[in-house]
Symmetry: C2
DNA sequence: CTGTTAGCGCTTTCAC
DNA sequence: GTGAAAGCGCTAACAG
């Protein structure tokens, strides 16, 4: 009680006071020595760092967070099934700036209030959402003063930034190419009902078909995985009889559809063209050679991180939406004709 | 640069004092109201919670961490390429116990000192490593008093717990089945040199071949991805001429090998059996139907989390290694014969 | 440049 | 059962 010096430092809790004592300086000098911007004589810094090394001292980021009102924690809201590259790109990009991702995975695509409350408790400096947020949830970020960047989601709420791969343009590329190659009878495998990304891609598909004076013969939904793509194919063919082309809202379902088509003796792309979206690694595998739109993940992640950091540094920085074009990967799963 | 100053001013920061004032109670009562174990009259708790709700108060986990000497943060050390299901299983399991995963991804398979130092700074309550740690690094966890659980890695250092899928037994199942089905000329695709998992699986393969009085005709390495599996296949065939069976250290490479084999006009499994390890989802896809060992990821993750929590609750709790049997998934990529 | 001092928001004895 | 007060380890004015 009376001696702060001796409280509980015996165990694995080396504090800046211990370092200060050993180096024969004040505690605040220790603090400065560990601050890259800290005004301190090189000589003294060296002494402090030596003492710190001897004790195995590392500044306590939790205490620092309390004091600085800045946790250096970034919340990442991400649904169960997701692309692994995204998360690792995000993490490495963040750590380059001294920020650490705190993970919040979601059972479904939808963010619950509980998850958000947990987030607020950690006083995260910012957040990424690769998930669906309701408008009032999005607004709560603003109320809490936590900058938010949406990934592949768009919101018309002014306060939110976003980085997207342009689904409409991407689908336009695909659909135009298919139409130009002479396809007329289209089937569509859409994403699940609650998927914003899926809805966006759907819009792109429909708009472009419309522009060509076409309507899809048949439309069905999948949940983005392989099995649902296979099942979707079956439903499409049952309903449509024959089809020239199938446009799938993502690659996994497209791959499922290819396998289902072949199981029925159809040749891809001779009898039927199939295209996907995302550019997952399996799209390149020999049996598929999927024609798809590859998202520029690294670019998108860098942009997202920069945008977030800007808004953390300056809360009044205007929000921004950056839309990246996806790149058409011409595989052999579709006969496609580019102007 | 004036933003540091006005962050504090602008930012909507409700503290327990604000709640206390509104509820007309002391700050410590607010604290107790939010502690499930807190001795407090239901009546008062209700009043506090009402006030908290009105202000949108959420206890500051950072401050709580400082005070309690417990961050509720769990470090997750994980290499770039990894199985997405693992991370989401881990996160959801952890959050059931009020712990949050703090992500540290690694460029390579190997953990650097920088990463560890970052970890110590956050005073994480425990750590998972799905990565290679050097013995002295493992010991540093003990020195820092941070319980560590290794995932699919084993270490003979006493202080470390681990959960593994039994690679030796898994490979034994596969190799025995192949031998029993009459295969004699074996090729092996091993993992990269620095992979402990790979080494373990290799041991299992060699030991079992040995027991059958066989040696692999040819052995080569891949880096666990599809392309490296294809390349590995080519090298194997160049060296061996013909082969009865190929045992691959993981599924992605096995899938690559299947495609490479077919590209050479070989039929799988009629001309050549190919087996993998892991049980990734693509193993089930129509063209592959891979015979493999499926890791019980959910079981392993639950076990890992329990072990970690036990050791956090009681630092003297003995460390433990739990070895799970993988399940043989009989696909059609291999002719295999089980006793 | 360096040391002193006052918080950051919470938990936790300790009196009442 | 409730309130007052002392830290948890650090940063950031403010003096010297």
């Amino acid at each position: 009680m009376s001696n702060k010096a001796n409280t509980r430092a015996n165990r694995h809790n080396v504090t800046s006071y211990d370092v200060a004592r050993l180096a024969g300086v004040s505690q605040s000098s220790v603090s400065r020595a560990f601050d890259p911007e800290g005004r301190i004589l090189p000589d003294m810094r060296a002494r402090v760092l030596a003492a710190a090394a001897e004790l195995g001292y590392q500044p306590n980021a939790i205490a620092r967070g309390l004091s600085m009102q800045r946790s250096n924690l970034i919340a990442v809201l991400i649904p169960d099934l997701t692309y692994p590259e995204l998360l690792s790109a995000l993490t490495s990009r963040l750590s380059q700036h001294g920020m650490r991702p705190l993970l919040f995975t979601l059972e479904s695509n939808v963010v619950s209030g509980d998850v958000l409350n947990q987030m607020w408790r950690y006083r995260v400096d910012g957040a990424f959402a690769i998930a669906k947020l309701r408008p009032e949830q999005i607004r709560s970020f603003k109320a809490q003063g936590v900058p938010l960047v949406l990934y592949n989601r768009y919101s018309d709420i002014e306060s939110v930034s976003a980085v997207c791969c342009d689904a409409v343009r991407g689908e336009a590329l695909l659909v135009n190419g298919l139409v130009a190659a002479g396809h007329r009878r289209f089937g569509v495998i859409a994403g699940p009902e609650d998927s914003e990304v899926g809805a966006e891609r759907m819009t792109g598909i429909m708009r472009q078909l419309d522009a060509a004076g076409l309507r899809p013969i048949s439309v069905t939904r999948g949940n983005y995985d392989y099995a649902s793509g296979k099942a979707a194919f079956t439903r499409l063919i049952e309903e449509a009889g024959t089809l020239d082309a199938i446009v799938s809202a993502n690659d996994f379902m497209a791959i499922g559809a290819i396998d289902a088509a072949r199981a029925q003796g159809l040749r891809v792309p001779e009898d039927l063209s199939i295209v996907g979206f995302d550019g997952i690694s399996a799209a390149d595998w020999d049996p598929y050679q999927l024609t798809t739109i590859r998202q520029p993940v690294n670019l998108m992640v860098s942009a997202a991180v920069s945008m977030l950091l800007e808004r953390i540094a300056d809360p009044d920085h205007p929000s921004e939406c950056r839309m990246f074009a996806g790149q058409l990967e011409r595989g052999s799963s579709a006969r496609i004709d580019l102007g």
